[in-house]
Amino acid sequence: MKKFLFTFISLGTLCQTLVADSIKRGEEIYKQVCHICHGLDMNGGIGPSLIDDFWKHGDSPHAVLHSISEGIPNTEMAPYKQLFKEDDLKAARDFILSKQKGLRSLALSSYPKAHFKGKKLSLDLLKTVESLEQKSIKENLIYFKNRYDAVAHLKADLYIQEDGVYGLRIRKAGRTAVYINGKEVLFQDENNKSLNKAQDFKLTKGVHKIEILHDEKMQHSLKFHATMTQEGKGHFTLMGKSLEGSEPKMVRAGAEAKVIRKYVHDISPRTLLCLLPNKVLVAYNPYSGKIEKVWKNSFVDQTPSLNARSALPSSIMGQELPSNFHGYNTKHKIKMLSYQSKGGSVLIKTAIGGKEHKVTISPLGATGFSLKGESKEAIPGFELVHEMTGSPKTNSNFKIDFN
């Protein structure tokens, strides 16, 4: 076994030198074409990010190549086999893969639990049992199945960007053994803590083989959380959490304004997230009359909340704008009567001391918005809070542009 592994690793190194030229060529192609949709930093734009953990159409070298050459139907991703030679397509793929960090090309098998009962989880034990099922996982997520009758065996490529000494930490989540390039680097067993161990290991830049054996524990949420630490460099999350087959969800601006109700860190409860067609997101709290935060070029990533009963916050992606416009104070309690998307704007009706007040949030230019307040009756004690010279301060009928 050991011998075989050595050969395997040296082969891997050899392959790496061969692809080095290919990566260079791939970068050229990426900078010609791909970056338009996927961003220069590969963080995504019109198209999805190419360096995060979600690979809707597969993250194996084969699957990535397939997506590039055949395109994705019903999207703006065209079949590039019409434009480039196969070598160039592969080069683009190699370049994209060279920027990966963490797990890719996941394959999951499961084995009858009884086989491991009373024994330490190990790869050797796998040799004497037949698997119940095997499947590849498209998205780069550890997809243990909320299945407590089987031991899972996950095989994946581990992409490392830098030579160094690494460590691995796994949140307590049942019996687990982790192997890197065939060598056990971590074992934990909550019932027999004396067996628990984790050791640091050296890894070179490149692709490594990782295998995880996991005896899933019954628990409230489906978490299997591992972080990889690099000596002197901090850490990164190795795997996400199971989305249980659902797709990552990003809510992006559309032709109509959207009002999104989601739990987001550092935003008051009951705040309305108003995503305008120009991708400006105004977090407006109608109960306090306060503009909590503003972003441009934004979208809402709801993925973290999906498998967590919405207990984990969604995140607002984009660039937060420094605000010199904070909202308004009133003498009375504000009641929200309704919210409504109207064309490109959001219309919010409130009652302040029994008097109706309308607030309209509309897009302005590429990165701004305007806030319009209207009331038929004067609202006593109404006071706008901002640092914008020349703009009104005390009238509940107002319009302020924020650019």
């Binding site: 409230h220 989601k262 306090s288 009375h332 504000i334």
Partner: protein
């Protein structure tokens, strides 16, 4: 080997072997892509079923096709479709929302807040369940407590339970309550003491029921009959009651809470019946779903089953039984609804708590074939000396069941074991002629759960008994007392009959002085002087002072919508007959028919819905704000006349908001009819004051502003008697601190003014010392304070421990670093 593997696989893939009664089937509906977990289901119309999802969508299912109606909502935990208004009502986490498609393009576009008058912090478990609706169309919903304190704040009632966490926390107003809100801006809290009231249901008789999950202060899963004003066991929510303060609640012990709590109608024993029960739904299908008329069904999220229940009134309160109906749903049921064809739709979610069914979510439909009678225990009734068990099919012979009983401990500790569990001998048995009814004699005790378990057996028609255990909750024993011939009418949604002496009296508050609550007479008010009243019998020698006299006292003019002020005084009386309803009784009859009670309710107990300030026979005042007899008191009333259509049918009921001595006693309350009479179409009518038996009552300073726009004036009127600071609920917009993260700010900034003084800063950290000092030796070891650098820096004497002084020094040194502009406080100017 292969064969063996296949067997293993098939066993693994069917985690629960479905147990479905004869004649019933379970169909699975394929869900739309992207719909992740169901939280609610309702029937929109004959063709369409709607669901709502945890991820915030409403989907409509019409003839096998799914259509996305709304999205980006916040965790809606229940959905109802109002066919008249053509709108959905949705319990979004932050508010109860009415969702409408105003331009008929098939997508929701208007989201109206019905109510947000309950607190909601960022505590994750602050779920909002509902709404359900009574026959008057009014909406009811329930509010979960928080699992943890939020930013260190919240009322956690441990009553001696050691340790930390594990007790649900009251973090914001009306958490742990059930409320009613039937129109925009209206909020009426009904009952407190719930923990995680996931199940909410309305019986066909307009009685509200709640199911709760076992845990702290909830010894086991249970179904509660909700009666307005009562407390159901979890103490945190008492904080919202005017007669309880935080200090009072924290000083109370288990036995104090036990005295005031109301026991469940039915215990739903853990594991056997329920683990996380959902909403009850009544079989109103008129036989389309089988022979279980008047019974109700509850689904369970963990056990992946449906149970069947029934109740009976014994000793003036409900109690009843539960039996499993069906087991092996794909996931776990939270909400259900019968469609017009009598199919039972079940919205299921297992995520988070994991359901035995194994699937994350499912939509399944239970239906009956219209003919087959399954062999089941139909119901159980208590008898004087045992139980009467009715079966759906005749038995072959007398069969002796195994009978057990037990009760539960009530405390802050999670759940309770069965206490004093014992097997009870069946003393004798009797089988009816048709062999369907078995009467057994066993020893009965109050406040016990009984399990009646039959051995495996077949009916006379050779059907197997599927569910062999039935559980009966005994709250009361049958007495020989005869039931009253004519029961008083049920007050819709309140859970009480009219004038029930057991209805909790309103909390007593001390009102402000008469001078402090005096109101100026508005310029447009009509002063009701002698000339305006038609009955001279009430006049006294003093002009402007009237004494209750012979005959009712009515104005000559008729009025509709109005703002009314009345001052009254129940004279002090030493007559021993002046007790209860005879101490100063009169009444303000709005529009000559809708009565606000006038009497002395200062230390003079009477029925809650007959006390001073009550809408007589319908609703007690929110608080008892009475002044002692002999003192002048005031009513300030804003009222809206009922609206009738041309055929005399009621369109909108009478509403009023009322202050008694400056205290709000009715908050936009709804009248169910005239006093002792149903609604009858009428126009404007005189204001009338009632003549009644009893000690003397005086009136003075009465005025009316006619034709007031009720809805427009309501908000301002509601805040009439509160000072400016009391009504200023808004957090002033203050620029936020940026040098600390928000979590730290919310914990340190005690008055939320975005200014942290050195005192607040050090106060927070010195408290932290006590928290970190786990072994309570007054010192922090490196394990207790695992910040190596700071530890070394502060541990001047190299004792390998920090005392309070050293610990404090760390933070007093840190403060100037955060206070960048050296103004001795951390605020937004520090950047």
């Amino acid at each position: 080997m292969k064969k063996f593997l296949l067997t293993v696989l098939s066993v693994l893939c069917t985690p629960v072997f479905a147990q479905i009664p004869d004649g019933y089937k379970l169909d699975t509906i394929t869900l739309p892509k992207g719909s992740i977990s169901l939280l609610g289901v309702c029937e929109k119309n004959d063709d369409t079923i709607a669901i709502c999802t945890w991820e915030g969508q409403i989907w409509e299912y019409t003839k096998g096709k799914w259509h996305l109606f709304a999205e980006d909502l916040m965790e809606p935990n229940g959905i109802y479709y109002d066919k008249k208004e053509e709108a959905y009502y949705l319990a979004q986490k932050p508010e109860l929302t009415r969702v409408k498609d105003t331009n008929a393009d098939g997508k929701a576009d208007l989201f109206e807040t019905v109510t947000a008058d309950f607190g909601y912090t960022k505590g994750y478990h602050e779920y909002h369940f509902g709404p359900v609706v009574d026959s008057l169309g009014r909406k009811y919903a329930s509010l979960n407590l928080s699992a943890r304190k939020v930013d260190g704040k919240g009322l956690e009632v441990r009553a001696g339970r050691p340790g930390e966490h594990g007790v649900m926390v009251y973090t914001a107003p009306y958490r742990g309550w059930v409320y009613r809100s039937d129109r925009q801006g209206h909020f009426h809290p009904i009952a407190s003491g719930f923990r995680s009231p996931c199940g909410i249901g309305m019986s066909p008789q307009d009685e509200l029921f709640i199911t709760d999950n076992q845990g702290d202060w909830m010894p086991d899963c249970a179904l509660f009959h909700v009666q307005e004003g009562k407390f159901y066991g979890h103490p945190g929510s008492l904080a919202a009651r005017p007669d309880y303060s935080e200090e009072k609640i924290l000083s109370m012990k288990n036995e104090d809470f036990a005295k005031i709590r109301t026991m469940p109608t039915i215990w739903l024993p853990r594991t056997y019946i329920s683990n996380s029960p959902g909403s009850p739904v009544w079989d109103t299908t008129k036989g389309k779903f089988g022979f279980f008329k008047d019974q109700f069904f509850i689904g369970d999220q963990s056990v992946s089953n449906l149970i069947r229940c029934g109740i009976e009134e014994v000793g003036g309160a409900y109690q009843g039984w539960c039996v499993q109906f069906l087991k092996g749903t794909q996931s776990g049921t939270v909400k259900m609804e019968f469609d017009k064809d009598g199919n039972l739709w079940t919205a299921q979610v297992g995520r988070g708590w994991r359901s035995q069914g194994g699937k994350r979510t499912a939509l399944q439909k239970v239906s009956w074939d219209g003919k087959t009678i399954p062999f089941e225990i139909y119901e159980v009734n208590i008898t004087k000396d045992g139980f009467k068990i009715t079966f759906t099919e005749p038995l072959t012979k007398k069969v002796t069941p195994a009978v057990k009983s037990w009760h539960y401990n009530y405390s802050a500790i999670y759940g309770s074991d069965r206490v004093d569990e014992k097997n009870l001998p069946v003393q004798s048995m009797k089988l009816s002629k048709d062999k369907k009814v078995l009467e057994i004699k066993v020893a009965l005790e109050k406040h016990k759960v009984y399990e009646i378990n039959f051995p495996e057996m077949n009916s006379a028609n050779n059907k197997k008994l599927l569910n062999r255990s039935i559980f009966y909750t005994v709250n009361n024993l049958l007495t020989s007392q005869k039931k009253p011939k004519r029961l008083k009418p049920l007050i819709p949604g309140a859970g009480w009959r009219k004038n029930d002496g057991r209805r909790p009296a309103p909390a007593v508050v001390t009102p402000k002085s008469f001078a402090e609550t005096a109101v100026q007479t508005p310029k447009n008010a009509t002063i009701l002087d002698d000339a305006k009243w038609s009955n001279p019998n009430w006049e006294t020698e003093t002009k402007g002072l009237w004494k209750r006299g012979k005959g009712n006292f009515a104005t000559k003019d008729a009025y509709g919508d109005a703002r009314i002020h009345i001052e009254f005084m129940a004279a002090k009386s030493d007559d021993p007959k002046s007790v209860g309803q005879l101490y100063g009784n009169s009444g303000i009859f709005l529009m000559s028919g809708y009565e606000i009670q006038v009497m002395n309710s200062y230390k003079n107990p009477t029925t809650a819905d007959g006390s001073c300030g009550s809408i007589w026979g319908q609703a007690p005042p929110l608080v008892n704000a009475s002044r002692p007899p002999g003192q002048w008191q005031s009513y300030d009333i804003l009222m809206k006349a009922p609206i009738f259509d041309n055929d005399g049918k009621l369109v909108e009921p009478m509403r009023a908001t009322i202050f008694h001595n400056g205290e709000l006693i009715h908050n936009d309350a709804w009248f169910y009819g005239q006093v002792n009479k149903a609604y009858q179409a009428h126009g404007k009518r005189p204001l009338m004051i009632q003549d009644h038996k009893g000690s003397d009552v005086f009136f003075r300073n009465m005025w009316i502003v006619p034709n007031v726009d009720y809805d427009k004036s309501l908000e301002v009127f509601r805040s009439s008697f509160k000072s400016e600071t009391e009504i200023n609920h808004n957090v002033k917009i203050i620029k936020p601190i940026t040098v600390l993260n928000r979590h730290m700010v919310s914990m340190m900034d005690s008055n939320a003014n975005e200014v942290i003084t050195e005192k607040e800063f050090l106060g927070f950290w010195t408290k932290q010392f006590n928290h970190d000092d786990k072994n309570k030796d007054g010192k922090l070891s490196p394990e207790e304070f695992p910040h190596e650098g700071a530890f070394r820096g502060a541990d001047k004497d190299k004792s390998q421990s920090l005392d309070r002084e050293e610990h404090r020094k760390i933070y007093s040194d840190q403060f100037p670093g955060l206070d960048k502009n050296k103004d001795r406080q951390i605020d937004h100017k520090d950047k």
